[in-house]
Amino acid sequence: MSIMEFISEIIDYGFVQKALFTSVMVGIICGIVGCFIVLRGLALMGDAISHAVLPGVAISFLLDINFFYGAVAAGILTALGIGYVNQNSRIKSDSSIGIVFTAFLALGVLLIRYAHSGVNLDSILFGSLTSVQTSDMWMTLIVGAIVLLVVVLFYKELLISTFDPTMAAAYGLPTKLIHYMLMILLTLVTVASMQTVGVVLVVALLITPASTAYLLTNRLWVMLILSAAFGVISSLAGLYFSFAYDLDSGAVIVLTSFLLFAFIFFFSPKQGVLWRAIRSKRKRNAAS
């Protein structure tokens, strides 16, 4: 299917539109929340929380409530659990993350099988854009609106507590509260991304576009916009290939964002490996 045919399909078919709205929103919010995750050095934490929402989804199904609530509760419990293990023992932070989230993930796998929920484990783990429902789309749009609103309202507080948490605490910002607020956003974003990329790969959409943007700019707000743009490009690629060639949307999204990263990694004007090598060679030649 050519891109033109695909665009006419978006116009003609409602289910393609739903997938389009959902994936664009997911690209934006993953890109934006991802910037803060990357700058705070929480990539592993992002990975952990995204995996750990699984038991929450299963328990919501057993209790017959919207899986959104269970997932958010599980995400927050994981963040708190990791913090608790880390602060009350000599276990290092990466190990506490590994210990807690794998336990949650394992519990989730068992519970989902036990629940006979009809929840398709594969589509939660790896995403399935072709089966986005109207309710999924609305949930993603609402979550997206919340995330964007929080980041706009608290931009100043997020910036300073990320860059210099000591100064932030010294002038009275509740830095721990901000950390957990960010963990809540992270959980919301993960839940919203479940249909698009799936919980296994969502971490890639959080850290890869943000890292790509990080190589291109020295201003946080520019980084946020670039990162969101890279997230959207990746999501759209995932959308096109999953409809046109029946490929797994999550995998395509992640590979697209990786290709963008690789390109910038080598060719970015400031940080690019290639130009840096050329510049240092010129310097050496000039010196000799």
Binding site: L39, L153, F154, Y155, K156, E157, L159, I160, T162, F163, D164, T166, M167, A169, A170, Y171, G172, Y214, T217, N218, R219, L220, V222, M223
Partner: protein, 251 residues
């Protein structure tokens, strides 16, 4: 007689990390309008004293007051510049925007810095002599320039009290001169400035008063009266085993 107001007072402060006592029953007061150095050997608890005073770490007991009020009510009036190695120098922020952060405390939630705030930041940057560097990413500066940027940020906070943790470590001589010049100017304007310092040779030249600690308070008061051989011996002895062996040789 003129009544001297006390800007900062520490009463009976004890701080421990787990089993280990870092500070024991520390008592001293700092008068308004003084430039005060906190000195002592490595591991004496200088940074701990500062962090506990600002409520950044929890204390076992003791009372900290700023103008007679607890730190919680005075945060907007205190600027704190932590050690340079706690900062991520690759962060996507330029020099001017770093100084603008100093205007945040007084803005409150939901308010963005306005033109006037950016102007104030620019003026503070000019004071430390770095206005030409405003668009540079902070990691591209030298250590001394970085320290001056953080001093400019503290100036932008427009506070009454300044806490500075080891500002002179690993910086060039001209930056050190600029910084001490500005600190003395702040003191002359009636601000209270408290600085952690480790170079004893310049302590008397730089500071009005000194607080000498080594877990206990050894001595506090005018610089000359603190820098006595007895007090220094008491503070540094346990940290310098060769001093003890020399004494043993003499006897």
């Amino acid at each position: 007689m003129e009544h001297k107001s006390i800007a900062f007072s520490v009463q009976d402060l004890t701080v421990s990390y787990g089993e280990q006592t870092a500070l024991k029953n520390i008592n001293f007061q700092v008068e308004k309008g003084k430039l005060v150095g906190v000195i002592g050997p490595n591991g004496a608890g200088k940074s701990t004293l500062m962090k506990a005073s600002l409520g950044l770490i929890s204390k076992d007991h003791g009372t900290i007051e700023f103008y007679g009020k607890p730190v919680k009510q005075m945060r907007e009036n205190i600027a704190y510049i932590p050690q340079r190695n706690n900062i991520d120098w690759d962060f996507p922020i330029n020099v001017l925007d770093t100084v603008v952060l100093g205007t945040y405390p007084k803005l409150g939630v939901f308010h963005r810095p306005k033109k006037a705030d950016r102007k104030r930041a620019q003026a503070c940057l000019a004071q430390v002599g770095l206005q030409k560097f405003s668009k540079r990413q902070i990691g591209e500066l030298s250590g001394g320039q970085q320290q001056r940027v953080f001093l400019a940020r503290a100036l932008a906070q427009q506070t009454e009290i300044f806490f500075f943790d080891e500002p002179f470590v690993g910086i060039d001589a001209s930056s050190e001169e600029t910084i001490i010049h500005i600190l003395k100017k702040l003191r002359d304007e009636g601000k209270t400035v408290i600085v952690i310092h480790h170079d004893l040779s310049k302590a008397q030249e730089y500071f009005d008063d000194l607080v000498l600690i080594n877990q206990d308070l050894i001595e506090a008061g005018p610089a000359a009266s603190v820098l006595t051989p007895e007090a220094l011996g008491k503070a540094y002895k346990s940290q310098l085993p060769f001093l003890q062996s020399e004494e043993a040789d003499e006897s």
